[in-house]
């Protein structure tokens, strides 16, 4: 059952650091985060790590385990062999604060730049009517726990620090798509997606989709449709925000009793 595992953990801060070696006990059923906690309790009390729920729900404990972005609380030790050395390093795309904790403020700044949900002005609370099939598309994206591993893995920022000012990463392109597919939203964010969030940087490698712990099809279901709608707009000779909004929003309305205001 129990055994002693070899761990390598990156320790340091914004001035530098390196890998430290540990030998640490592992019990049946444990996850990587349990082992990090055991290190804190027994060998390295000041080892910095973020976590909250320990159930894969809050997206706090993102790190790179053997080079792959993972939620530490959902990475079972049984997925490794007993003689394997397990290396835990902080997410690479974001600046290190200390040990496994990184500065993810980039993500919050980008979140703040996405124009908010705007319902029809004359639709009273309580009168919202939407069909399940119509909300499901956006609901898929709202499963996002903001672990930021997709943004961490996307090569457009991972390998290009300079793109951070103009590119928001898959998480926030998906947020734009989510609002865009909301049956009652009234704003057109296509310009913004191009100008402020750099949707053009994405070349559909799908690395983001692969790491998403919520198994959201970020590329296929959010980014590609978003790109298509933008292309639509660019090639539409009689383009006007109003007419396009009408067409795109209306095409989706299928809930019975949808208030007139949204039609």
């Amino acid at each position: 059952m129990g055994y002693t595992a070899k761990f390598k953990v990156w320790r340091g801060d914004d001035t530098g650091g390196g890998i430290e070696d540990f030998s640490v006990d592992v019990n049946e059923g444990e996850v990587v985060l349990d082992i990090i906690h055991r290190l804190q309790a027994t060998q390295a009390p000041d080892l910095a790590v973020r976590w909250n729920c320990k159930a894969g729900k809050c997206g706090s404990c993102s790190a790179e385990v053997n080079g792959k972005p993972r939620l530490m609380c959902m990475t079972r030790m049984s997925t490794f062999t007993e003689d394997e050395t397990i290396t835990v390093t902080p997410m690479r795309t974001f600046p290190v604060i200390r040990d496994l904790v990184t500065d993810v403020s980039y993500n919050y700044e980008k979140a703040r730049m996405v124009p908010a949900f705007a319902p029809p002005a004359d639709l009273a609370p309580g009168d919202y009517r939407m069909a399940q099939v119509d909300v499901e598309r956006s609901q898929e994206f709202r499963k996002c726990i903001e672990c930021f591993m997709c943004n961490n893995v996307c090569h457009a920022v991972r390998d290009h620090e300079e793109n951070k000012t103009t590119f928001s990463g898959p998480r926030f392109l998906m947020r734009i798509a989510e609002l865009d597919m909301h049956p009652l939203d009234t704003v057109d964010r296509r310009e913004v997606a191009v100008e402020d969030h750099g949707v053009g940087y994405c070349n559909i490698t799908k690395c983001c989709t692969e790491v998403c712990p919520e198994h959201i099809k970020i590329t296929d279901n959010a980014i590609i449709p978003l790109k298509e709608r933008i292309a639509d707009k660019k090639y539409d000779p009689i383009f006007s925000i109003a007419s396009l909004f009408k067409r795109n929003k209306e095409g989706r309305q299928s809930a019975p009793d949808t208030p007139k205001a949204t039609k």
Partner: protein
């Protein structure tokens, strides 16, 4: 003393869960400048974990539902120890608060006619919980977070500064509330990232710090649940109420050990899951208490019919209030009818098709698959009680949420009263919205009416700084992690789900020893993001809270809701009239009794006299005849 960063706001909200965010939104809408301070990253608060949904009598699924029914259910669930005024406001305002979320962009699951769908939950007479699969808390917190972003965008358009009216201080831990002349004056804390200190000067402070789960070993709570708000309030001169009432959720995971306590949502039972023991018996039929006899099915056949025909059948006993189910599971395990890992079985695999399970309970499916290697569409889960929620909390005015300290408000799990001795599932998220908003409003109105703002002086800050730095200069070699583990074991074993006098006396003695050990605990490393230091500071809060819980539990000589005494197994009409209040006397928690306000006659009239007889003393009974509105 080093130079300490200072900020000045109208309202400081401590906590960024549902309650804190809703309070901040309200205070900002009232035109106030607001700071939101939280220990974690923004959007990660405990609320994110809530699964089942938000209780609100919208009547979308069963049109018989209304606020009166919700009020009755809440009072029954809390065994009439609730603040009836809060229960009234809660039931009346919850639907508006949920509809409002849709205007912020929330996308709940829908009914066939396009309204917000509502699901069944324990203790709720009708399907009442607005939900999104089993990730309702995530939807709630993200929606509120996004509403805050939208307000910041408004402010940006007006002033060119996103943070003109709402500023978020994430990963900042408050260690002390500042008071001047018996009024709130602000809060003091440190940045987790750097260890640097920060002072917030504000005439109004809203506490929305959540619960106390981390004082117990087996818990569904996150690391943040160290009872900070309860302790901060008590130290600042406010009081807590009925801290003995702690909800042990009947279904936490029991295996493997590292995930013991993680929640298995009640929706599993609401959607048809059944509890069985090692002999294969659906044992809940043997545990229907007298007070609920006429409301629950007595045979599996009737129980099963209820899912499709709720108007003509009584509900399955698996859906009894949580305290009843948790005690039943505890008894089955004690009687030797438990599973190999000390729980009971919870099964949906034989009740619903695999596809339906994955659709309705996606995160449960994942959770068991990924953490326990169990496929819940094929096998039963093993579950047992886990410390989940504290019904007790900071004593507040039911309308404004102001505590006994003027200028200090509290909302959400940290506040007490609404849930009485036991909370119904779904009533927390609605609590956060209803009373978060009221606290934000109360704080704004308080600031408005205040003639002069209190001024924070340097001496106060020097003292707070010294207190926070003390663990670095302690000389002992106690490890804070070890003390924490010992505290959790003590509370779990001695002040847990079933309590008895001798064990609680023992627990109180140990708590005194822990206090000494905490003073001897030393911290290694520097101030930048040092979890060992953070824990050493949190421990002081946990100890004060644990003491309040243990003393109140020892004092209350009856069993009711989330407080079960082996030595006083019955509910007592006399004890129902008593609120146990806790305050801090400079050393620790001290308790006193406060009489319960009698319920307003028009609310009493919502109940049958026969039912009231189960809870009230003879003198309290009204003279009205059985009400007709049921």
């Amino acid at each position: 003393m080093s130079e300490i960063e200072r900020h000045s706001f109208d309202v400081v909200v401590i906590g960024a869960g549902g309650a804190g965010l809703r309070a901040a939104i309200e205070a900002r809408m009232q035109g106030k400048r607001v700071a939101i301070v939280c220990k974690s990253l923004f959007g990660k608060a405990h609320t994110v974990m809530a699964e089942g949904g938000i209780a609100a009598a919208m009547g979308n699924v069963n049109s018989h539902d209304n606020w009166q029914v919700h009020f009755r259910d809440t009072m029954r669930g809390g065994k009439f120890l609730n603040s009836w005024r809060m229960a009234e406001l809660h039931a009346k305002e919850a639907p508006t608060r949920v509809w409002e979320l849709e205007t912020y962009g929330a996308l709940f699951d829908r009914t066939p006619d396009g309204k917000i769908s509502q699901r069944n939950f324990g203790g709720h007479e009708y399907p009442r919980l607005a939900h999104v699969g089993d990730r309702s808390g995530l939807e709630l917190i993200r929606t509120l977070q996004q509403k805050i972003v939208s307000l910041q965008q408004e402010d940006y358009r007006e002033t060119g500064d996103y943070e003109a009216k709402i500023k978020i201080f994430a990963e900042v831990t408050i260690t002390r509330l500042l008071t001047v002349d018996g009024r709130a004056a602000g809060a003091f804390g440190y940045y987790r990232e750097t260890g640097n200190f920060v002072t917030f000067e504000a005439p109004a402070v809203v506490l929305a710090t959540g619960g106390i789960g981390k004082t117990f070993k087996v818990t569904s709570g996150s690391w943040e649940y160290t009872g900070d708000g309860h302790a901060l309030a008590m130290r600042a001169g406010a009081t807590t109420l009925n801290m003995e009432f702690i909800q042990f959720h009947p279904t936490g995971m029991v295996w493997p050990p590292s995930v013991k306590g993680i929640l298995v949502t009640e929706s599993v039972r609401g959607d048809g899951g059944v509890l069985t023991n090692s002999e294969g018996t659906r044992f809940m039929f043997n545990y229907i208490p007298d007070v609920f006899k006429d409301k629950y099915a007595t045979t599996p056949e009737e129980a099963d019919r209820w899912y499709t025909d709720p108007d003509n059948n009584r509900r399955p006993p698996e859906l009894l209030p949580r305290d009843e189910v948790a005690r039943a599971i505890n008894s089955e395990v004690k009687a030797g009818r438990g599973t190999p890992h000390g729980g009971v079985y919870l099964d949906v695999s034989s009740r619903l098709p695999a596809e339906v399970i994955k659709k309705k309970l996606p995160s449960m499916w994942h959770q068991f698959k990924e953490l326990a290697d169990v496929d819940i569409t094929k096998e039963a889960m093993e579950v047992g009680p886990t410390c989940h929620y504290v019904m007790g909390g900071v004593e507040v005015d039911p309308d404004t949420q102001q505590t006994l300290l003027p200028g200090l408000f509290a909302a959400g799990e940290v506040s007490g009263g609404l849930h009485g001795s036991n909370r119904l599932g779904g009533n927390s998220l609605s609590d956060l919205l209803v009373f978060g908003r009221r606290a934000g409003l109360g704080a704004a109105e308080y600031v408005e009416a205040l003639p002069v703002r209190p001024a924070v002086d340097d001496a106060m800050l020097a003292d707070a700084e010294a207190e926070a730095l003390a663990p670095f200069s302690n000389v002992g070699d106690e490890n804070p992690y070890t003390i924490h583990a010992d505290l959790q074991n003590t509370m779990n074993d001695l002040v847990g789900i079933i309590r008895t006098e001798s064990e609680m006396v023992d627990a109180l003695a140990r708590l005194q020893e822990f206090k000494v050990r905490v003073k001897n605990s030393s911290v290694k490393g520097g101030r930048a993001f040092n979890p060992g230091w953070h824990l050493a500071l949190d421990l002081k809060n946990m100890l004060l809270v644990a003491e309040a819980v243990a003393k109140a539990s020892l004092d209350r000589q009856e069993s009711r809701g989330g407080h079960t005494r082996d030595d006083y197994p019955k509910m007592s009409d006399e004890w129902r009239k008593i609120n146990i209040i806790c305050r801090y006397d400079g050393e620790g928690a001290v308790i006193e009794h406060q009489p319960m306000q009698p319920m307003r006659p028009d609310l009493l009239e919502l109940f049958d006299v026969e039912e009231l007889k189960k809870y009230l003393t003879a003198e309290e009974l009204p003279t009205h005849d059985a009400g007709s509105d049921h």
